[in-house]
């Protein structure tokens, strides 16, 4: 059993990243700029985000997945590209796969890496691979792959989606469950940040939008669903925190906790994002407010690392001590 909260240093790290992102990666950037997040990884290298969990002699900060989920929650709050998970994990894969030179260029942000998972047609689906290189994750295996890609039009226009035939050229490949499950909780943490952003956006609007002579948040049909969003956000963060600590301490149930965290966060984020569109009424249906973007990004994150439709049935296969 684990009972812990982020300590002061961890909170300071999280707050520092939050402040930086609020100033430098505000959500509005996604409407007005053509510069993609992946072209600005050097800024996140400077912040220590990329390399956070690398040892200090590898040029990292020597922290763990516990700090990574705190950082990822903030990255998710301002909708930083999901490819950041690839950028954070790729140096580990290169080092363990014996590609030290590649590792250095990945850690410095010089080589940029997309994030890829298997598509149902056998090709990989790649998110934001700027240089033709991507981190491919399947089960507990991670590989760094180079290969041709065909651009697809993504429902979320703020990320680049592409199809890449497999196997491609594998530069490094490892079987590393703890890294794979870390990717799951990092994506779940990004969904948590997004859930909190949705919670705040919906509640802000419900407090201020007046119809029928009162703020719409006075109506129970609205306020009860706002409550459900807030409850989902808190539950998912608690689960992500628990899963990250389980992974870090090598707990027997870490894999279950990570998968449960990822599925719960995706499911809750999509539910919340749907409601947020509804609460915004006509404007929620437009691209003039961000409600639609939050929904689309939640779908992208939910599809990462394994078909979410099939995950719950897998969760019953774990042996758990209760």
């Amino acid at each position: 059993m684990m009972l812990s909260l982020p300590d002061d240093e961890q909170m300071a790290l999280s707050q520092g990243v939050a402040d930086f992102l609020a100033g430098n990666f505000p959500v509005e950037r996604l409407r007005s700029t053509d510069t993609r997040d992946v072209e600005r990884w050097d800024e996140l290298v400077g912040l220590g985000v990329i390399g956070l969990s690398l040892d200090e002699d590898q040029g990292g900060l020597g922290l763990s997945v516990v700090e990574e989920v705190l950082v990822c929650r903030e990255l998710g709050r301002t909708l930083v590209s999901p490819a950041i998970i690839g950028a954070m994990l790729a140096p580990h894969v290169a080092i363990r796969g014996g590609q030290d030179v590649l590792a250095v260029s990945l850690r410095s942000g010089e080589r940029r890496v997309g994030l890829a998972v298997g598509g149902s047609d056998g090709d990989a689906r790649v998110v934001d691979a700027a240089d033709g290189l991507f981190l491919f994750l399947t089960g507990s295996e991670l590989s760094l792959v180079e290969g041709a890609q065909t651009s697809l039009r993504c429902i979320d226009e703020t990320v680049c989606l592409a199809a890449a035939p497999l196997p491609g050229t594998v530069l490094a490949g490892i079987d590393a469950p703890e890294l794979a499950w870390a990717a799951h909780v990092m994506a779940a943490a990004m969904l948590c940040g997004q859930l909190e952003a949705i919670r705040d956006m919906a509640a802000d609007y419900a407090r201020t939008r007046v119809q029928f002579g009162r703020p719409i948040g006075a109506f129970q049909a609205i306020k009860h669903r706002c409550t459900d969003v807030a409850m989902g956000a808190d539950m998912c963060w608690a689960q992500v925190w628990n899963a990250a600590n389980a992974l870090h301490s090598g707990a027997a149930d870490a894999e279950f906790q990570a998968h449960a965290a990822k599925w719960l966060a995706g499911d809750e984020a999509i539910k919340a994002a749907r409601f947020n569109i509804q609460v915004h009424g006509g404007m929620g249906f437009t691209q003039e407010v961000d409600a639609q973007l939050l929904l689309k990004r939640a779908h992208v994150l939910h599809q990462l690392f394994g078909n979410p439709r099939l995950v719950p049935a897998r969760l019953v296969e774990f042996e758990l001590e209760t």
Binding site: Q220, T227, M235, Q239, L320, T322
Partner: protein, 401 residues
């Protein structure tokens, strides 16, 4: 606060485990019948056993006879209690988790000296006396009168949904002692001896066949003024203060029990064949629903522990503490709803399996979860207004000048 190593608690855990293994009653709690006597005797016996072995009042201050265990030890206790199949006794928890803590916080030395030992030893069973026919979710609508006459309060009116009043010895009675007062004002929290003349108890049959609740009528019942807890007219504050004492930890036991129930449901689906001759769990649609429940139960557990960690750290439970009760109640209903579905035609039969482990009776009982102690709708209002800062339902927007 960092991680607390589990090993530090290992000795405590094994002590708890072995005690529970030998002492948890082999037979589950008897049904709560119209007179409630068999159930009451069971409760008394079990609490007496806990008391004699030093397990009464685990979260009570030692100055009042409790064990004063830390939050971690409390969690271990609740985990082991659920693992050992310890009886789930609401009829004890009113006294242990509510009346006792209220007396500790607001009682007079005489009230504490008389009642606390009787509560700990199981000699005294308590019931609540808050809700009324016209004051259910809206508790501040209390109308039951207590007129002060000399050194007595004369009580007239009625209470409803008082759990286990048919066999209780004392009641936490909240009365309107200032005639004409409104809402939260003018209420008093009074100890009511259930054997006093002027009380009539009408047990109410619940949809699961048990007599969980009663309606209680008061006809010129006379209670000494010395039974007022806190100040006369200060009953609302006295009622609310107890919640701070609990800090949400009383939910740990229910939460761990629900987690065990999900695992039992999984076992049922593994061990039971469907009409196709295959185990139910081999059906992907069933496995999916079970997996979703398992994930949600895990999320609820994480939220519960997060909340406890926060209350250990700064003594102020976070928002997630408020969510736990709401989610627990709704998840419990989902679990038993699925169990009922998986039983197919057998779900129509009431077997001799005792209430506590009978999935059909628990399915019926689970409807109480989102009603008792405040409906889910009222809980949602409270969360929306207090945590999210949403306007009250009667808020009116200011019109532009």
């Amino acid at each position: 606060m960092g991680l607390v190593p589990a090993s530090a608690l290992d000795d405590f855990r094994s002590g708890v485990r072995s005690w529970l293994q030998t002492h948890v009653p082999a037979e589950p709690a008897p049904s709560i019948t119209r007179d409630g006597i068999a159930h009451r005797d069971f409760l008394r016996g079990w609490q007496r056993k806990l008391h004699d072995s030093g397990w009464a009042g685990i979260n009570w201050p030692s100055a009042f006879g409790g064990r004063d265990l830390g939050a971690m030890e409390q969690i271990v206790w609740f985990e082991e209690y659920a693992r050992a199949g310890g009886p789930d006794c609401f009829g004890l928890s009113v006294a242990q988790s509510h009346a006792g803590p209220t007396l500790i916080q607001a009682g007079t030395p005489e009230q504490r000296a008389f009642h606390l030992p009787r509560i700990l030893s199981g000699e005294a069973i308590w019931c609540q006396g808050f809700s009324e026919p016209g004051a259910g979710s809206d508790l501040a609508g209390i109308r039951c009168r207590g007129d002060v006459e000399g050194d007595e309060i004369v009580v007239n009116g009625s209470k409803i949904w008082t759990s286990f009043a048919q066999a209780a010895d004392y009641q936490e009675l909240v009365l309107r002692t200032e005639p004409g007062s409104q809402r939260h004002k003018g209420l008093s929290w009074v100890i009511c001896d259930m054997q006093s003349p002027g009380i009539t108890v009408r047990p109410i049959k619940s949809m699961d066949g048990e007599y969980h609740n009663c309606e209680v009528f008061y006809d010129n019942l006379r209670i000494p003024l010395s039974n007022v807890v806190g100040k006369l007219g200060d009953g609302w504050r006295v009622s609310m203060a107890t919640l701070a004492f609990e800090r949400g930890r009383s939910f740990i036991g229910s939460q761990v029990r629900l987690l065990r129930t999900v695992e039992r449901l999984l076992d049922f689906a593994r061990d039971t064949n469907g009409s196709d001759g295959e185990p139910l769990i081999a059906d992907p649609s069933i496995a999916t629903r079970l997996g979703e429940l398992r994930a949600r139960a895990s999320g609820l557990k994480s939220m519960t522990y997060f909340s406890v960690a926060r209350s250990m750290n700064d003594e102020v439970p976070g928002a997630e503490g408020t969510y736990v009760a709401l989610m627990l109640a709704e998840l419990k209903q989902q679990v038993y709803r699925l169990w009922m579905e998986l039983l197919d035609m057998r779900g129509l039969e009431v077997t001799d399996v005792p209430h506590a482990t009978n999935p059909v009776l628990q399915y019926l009982f689970s409807f109480a979860a989102t009603i008792g102690g405040g409906t889910s709708e009222v809980r949602r209002n409270i969360i929306a207004e207090r945590i999210l800062g949403l306007p009250r339902h009667d808020a009116v927007a200011e019109l532009p000048a």
